[in-house]
């Protein structure tokens, strides 16, 4: 199910700019869990595994984790109730829910139960990694700055002004929100679905490359005529704004 080609993963590893995270994966399917633990370790994170809801709750409650990855249907204790119980105890560790139920109302139910993000199965590891890394940063980082800076690109969230190398760029409102989201998560991979959900607030899967076209328009405005590209395409995963690729 969860397959991802090697080049894109290594590419993502090379170019990401994300601190090490401690993850807890609560998943009853042994094979998926092993795969996730291994894949997260490969990209430089620490991942623990719990095989059922009770164990998951105990570990999440006692351990100091940056993000929880919780399967929705678990033996002994349902994934949503694990998250709900943690929230009741005041534990705010960001949680991403994995579920075979991918419809809009299931997602809403998951988020209401205290989950922070919802990813329907089957998913690609690149998508999961990108979402988990965005969640983790949300916990501690200085998320609500008024000005975002990447290289010589500056975005003022109050005046909605965007400049590059001191030169003002004219962006459409939606292009501004797209860039704002990308710059908020600068150095992190952002997937197409994340953009569709967070910038457009749609939760369906377009059959066409509609996001790519918006990105290429944005790219032509912020990168065209400058020698250092800032908006990068991460093959097989999504996009990233970053000053220079390693």
């Amino acid at each position: 199910m969860v397959l991802e080609t090697e080049p894109s993963r290594s590419e993502a590893i090379q170019s990401r700019d994300v601190p090490e995270m401690r993850l807890l994966i609560i998943e009853d399917d042994r094979e998926s869990a092993d795969y996730l633990v291994k894949a997260f370790r490969e990209v430089g994170h620490i991942a623990d595994h719990a095989g059922d809801g009770e164990e998951g709750f105990a570990l999440a409650d006692s351990g100091d984790y940056d993000v929880l990855v919780v399967d929705r249907m678990l033996p002994k204790r349902d994934g949503l109730s694990v998250i709900g119980a943690l929230r009741d105890k005041g534990n705010r560790t960001p949680a991403l829910i994995l579920s075979a139920l991918g419809q809009v109302d299931d997602r809403i139910k998951g988020l209401r139960a205290g989950g922070d993000d919802y990813l329907p199965k089957p998913y690609s590891f690149a998508e999961l990694l990108a979402r988990v890394e965005v969640l983790s940063r949300r916990q501690g980082g200085p998320a609500e700055e008024t000005t975002y800076r990447v290289g010589d690109l500056e975005l003022d969230r109050l005046s909605h002004g965007v400049t590059r190398g001191g030169q003002e760029l004219i962006l459409q409102p939606r292009e501004f929100r797209l860039l704002e989201y990308l710059m908020k998560h600068a150095g992190q991979v952002v997937t197409r679905t994340m953009l569709l959900e967070n910038v457009w607030d749609y939760h369906f899967d377009p059959q066409t490359n509609v996001i790519d076209v918006h990105i290429s328009r944005l790219r032509s405005k912020i990168d065209k005529g400058f020698d250092r590209p800032l908006l990068h395409t991460i093959r097989g995963a999504g996009y990233m704004v970053r000053d220079g690729m390693k």
């Binding site: 090697e6 089957p122 059959q207 066409t208």
Partner: protein, 479 residues
């Protein structure tokens, strides 16, 4: 269960029994009241005549003495249908009157009493009963005046006869009617049960018999038939879907398998394996998309998505989708325009947005003018407007369109008209849009745009008041 047992268990029969019981109680109460009242009336009559005569005779006794009263009594006793008279000495011996025997002790106490008696002039007559009054006259004589109660007994006889006969008639007619009605109902129910058994056994084409009487059972049968019609349509739809799934999902699965097999058999270096794996992931992503679309349609069609509905303006949806797809259309050398006026609807915003997105994607895919140089405008128009009690969301293109004969067909799942077989897509776009429209109680309309195709999502509009109550909840998108 025997046929009789079945008959006795019918609702109609049980109702009949209940009514029978109620009528019997009612009749008994009525007759009882009648008898009691008549009895009282007879007693009143007797007491008043006896009292009057008693006054008259005791007055006579005090004026004319024993001789006078004896004469008067002898005289009166001879009249046909006369009252009963008896006058006795202080020693208790009979002086005059028309009574031969009385119950012992009647003369001993004064006042009213009931007693059996025999008349002097008819000593062989059966023992009758009478209501009598005894009064003490002066100098120890006692006078009895009474009246026969035979009338009252006859009345009781009549009443009890009436009760017997009416009970018999009520029971016979009631039971007969009950059985008749029950059997009639039972026959119809048996026919319905028989047919439903056949249908349960698998013959979905069976229909219940509908009589001509138009009674409640016929109406029930008509409704059940309509329900069966719907079930049959759903079942055949399901069958068609599984056939289509078999065809349209097996094809990419086969391709995937072939490619993997070939890479395994003939792959010589890492690059070839990598290419094969990448193609496999691409194919499986496509399959997942198809599955998601199918699940979405199934959910919309089964009505499960009815939660999550709120009031919003379809114009906002049109503008949002226009904004999302405008660059894509431009890349495809098409102009995507939007003309939106307020069209409030109550619905699932996400589903309606997705349906409209599918229509726009279709228009971008198939909406290129046929005659590239011929002057037909390469324009796609998204419209949102209100028309009476309907809100319309439409997408019009100037492409090849769909011939009228194919339009109904095009909405079905997986149908991709021959001309489009070579383009990518799952073939589920129109059926999803149609399922969403039906979920909201509307329809999907396909029309000729001369040239091109106009697809319209027809949704029920919300009235002004309902929207006003909700307007605070409609999220405003920063456009």
């Amino acid at each position: 269960m025997t046929a009789i047992g079945k008959l006795f268990r019918t609702t109609a029969f049980r109702l009949t029994l209940a009514y029978l019981l109620i009528f019997a109680l009612f009749a008994a109460a009525l007759l009882g009241y009648l008898a009691w009242n008549t009895n009282r009336l007879i007693n009143d009559q007797i007491t008043s005549t006896v009292d009057a005569e008693m006054d008259e005779l005791s007055d006579l006794f005090s004026r004319r003495g024993l001789r006078g009263i004896v004469f008067a009594i002898e005289n009166r006793a001879l009249r046909p249908g006369a009252n009963l008279y008896l006058i006795t000495t202080p020693a208790g011996q009979s002086v005059a009157g028309n009574i031969s025997s009385l119950a012992p002790g009647v003369m001993a106490s004064t006042g009213w009493s009931e007693t059996p008696y025999r008349r002097l002039d008819d000593p062989d007559s059966p023992n009758h009963r009478a209501l009598v009054k005894v009064q003490q006259l002066s100098s120890g004589f006692r006078l009895l005046i009474g009246h026969d109660l035979e009338e009252r007994l006859r009345l009781f006889g009549i009443v009890s006869d009436a009760a017997k006969w009416s009970t018999l008639i009520v029971v016979v007619l009631g039971l007969g009617g009950g059985i008749f009605v029950s059997r009639r109902v039972l026959r119809k129910i048996d026919a319905i049960t028989g047919t439903t058994r056949l249908i349960m056994a698998g013959d979905l084409s069976g229909r219940l018999p509908v009589g001509r009487s138009g009674d409640e059972l016929d109406r029930l049968a008509e409704n059940l038939n309509a329900m069966l019609e719907r079930i049959e349509a759903l079942m055949s739809g399901l069958k068609e879907v599984s056939d289509n799934i078999a065809h349209d999902l097996k094809t990419p699965l086969t391709r995937m398998r072939n490619r993997a097999e070939e890479a395994l058999a003939h792959g010589t270096n890492e690059d070839e394996y990598r290419a094969a794996l990448e193609r496999t992931i691409e194919e499986s992503d496509g399959l997942i998309r198809t599955f998601n679309a199918l699940l979405m349609i199934a959910r919309a069609e089964s009505g499960q998505a009815r939660g999550n509905m709120d009031n919003f303006d379809a114009a906002e949806v049109a503008e949002g989708i226009h904004e999302l797809y405008e660059p894509l259309a431009e890349d495809a050398e098409l102009v995507l325009k939007v003309e939106a006026s307020a069209a409030p609807v109550h619905g699932n915003r996400e589903l309606i947005s997705q349906a409209l997105a599918n229509l726009v994607e279709n228009a971008i895919k198939y909406g290129k003018p046929v005659t590239a140089e011929g002057g037909a405008t390469a324009e796609i128009l998204i419209e949102a407007r209100r028309e009476g009690d309907r809100a319309l969301l439409s997408v019009s293109d100037h492409g090849a369109g769909i011939p009228e004969a194919d339009r109904k067909h095009a909405v079905q799942r997986f149908v991709r008209l021959e001309a489009s077989r070579t383009l990518p897509g799952s073939g589920l776009g129109l059926s999803l849009a149609s399922a969403v429209a039906i979920l909201h109680g509307g329809e999907l309309r396909l029309e000729d745009n001369g040239p091109g195709l106009r697809v319209t999502l027809v949704l029920p509009a919300v009235t002004g008041e309902a929207l006003a109550g909700q307007s605070g909840n409609v999220p405003q998108k920063s456009a």
